[in-house]
Symmetry: C2
Subunit: 84 residues, 2 copies
């Protein structure tokens, strides 16, 4: 849960998740959408991966990132505990 909240704390990382909602993208494609260097985006992707919010798949030169929403269920039930 800690890694999850940590990952969601950063606005750039949340924006990456929203981007990936449309479908998988390569690291480069993601980096293009932001005014940040590729290493910075790489670092954000690493934290998202640690939180299990994305998975990565290497194919040749490219690494494709996809959304994983299963962890969000944990957050969802944590939240719902307050709404009752």
């Amino acid at each position: 849960m800690n890694l999850l909240f940590k990952a969601l704390h950063d606005p750039t990382r949340r924006a990456i998740l929203e981007l990936l909602r449309e479908g998988p993208l390569t690291a480069g494609d993601i980096a293009e959408q932001f005014h940040l260097s590729k290493p910075t985006i790489s670092h954000h992707l690493d934290l998202l991966r640690q939180a299990e919010l994305v998975t990565s798949h290497k194919q040749g030169l490219y690494i494709t990132y996809s959304l994983t929403t299963t962890v969000l269920d944990d957050l969802l039930s944590w939240l719902l505990q307050f709404k009752s």
Copy 2:
């Protein structure tokens, strides 16, 4: 949304929210539950208030903190956008 995610990032603040789920508590009562100084807890309560996750009510010497769950609805709908 940024203040909300920021507030939820810290484990102590999440623990405070879970405590308040049982009902309102004074700042001192909250501080007693943690191995942290009162000023530190005061600071955490301040951030929770900024995020509108709690409200405070002064009565004499004591300040009572209560949970506010309305902001969590925003988070809930942000989350649900990923589960569909």
